[in-house]
Amino acid sequence: MPKDNIIASKMVGKKMPDFALPAAIEQRPGLSSGDLAGGNPTLLNVFASWCLPCIAEAPQLLELEKAGVEINAIASRDTSADVANFLNRWGNPYARIGSDTRSAVQLEIGSSGVPETFVIDGNGVIVHQHIGDIRKENVPELLKILEEAR
């Protein structure tokens, strides 16, 4: 099997599993599955301060946030100080950030690395998975999927 093979989550089309993660930094609340079924479609970004492509996608996440998208995050295997430094440096587009220190929620949602971004509809159903960093050209795509999930 080639090394760059992409493993898509089988959770697309299913309801977000129940979880509750503590806050990754002081300035933002933690994240639980209930937060992802608030009536409007949202993005769930899985990232880490130690992840280089996460830096590359930071401007695109800020752009999506400016466009009015609610973005929540799972910080993968990270310390509070490292997450805070990362966000100070590259911007903080997140409403809530849950700290997933043991990849537990990542495994629950079928995510196999960082960065990954899930589109979740207003009922908490996962409708799309974007694997790898969000590039400039992916922003309109994601906005369209979010609109269709409304």
Partner: protein, 137 residues
């Protein structure tokens, strides 16, 4: 020596930043106290594919996420789940791909049927050959 130094300068900082700063999960490297349960967990870990390093099982990989998966396997076994329940839990999330022991499905049944078919073919060919020899002798 100079090449080695250049190599270290090039790659050490990269690997250092591309790894998590957190310690491994509690049962990533620690065995279960009950040897029977540890054996059950170990057998399953050898049959689950590492998500980061796809040519290795999670038992063989030092990737942090493989460690997190090992810890999940051990903790779930300790809590009384069966290896099949844990395998199914992962297949539900990552597909059959995650298991080195694929279930029989419409796509995978030839894996089991092909050896049987070849064995029967071989026996049939051998029988025809032996019979001819007997006739000649």
């Amino acid at each position: 020596m100079r090449i080695l130094a250049a190599f270290l300068i090039l790659f050490l900082p990269f690997t250092a930043t591309a790894q998590t700063g957190l310690p491994p999960a509690p049962y990533a490297y620690r065995q279960l106290d009950d040897p029977a349960k540890e054996a059950e967990a170990k057998e399953l870990m050898e049959e689950l594919r590492c998500l980061k390093c796809q040519s290795q099982s999670i038992a063989d990989s030092d990737a942090p996420m493989a460690g997190d998966m090992r810890s999940q396997v051990r903790e779930r076994i300790a809590a009384g789940q069966t290896p099949e329940q844990i395998r199914d839990w992962l297949i539900d999330r990552y597909g059959n791909w995650v298991s080195y022991d694929p279930p029989v499905t419409t796509a995978t049944w030839p894996l089991w049927a092909a050896p049987l078919f070849l064995l029967i073919m071989g026996l049939w060919l051998a029988r025809a050959k032996f019979r001819r020899k007997k006739d000649e002798g």
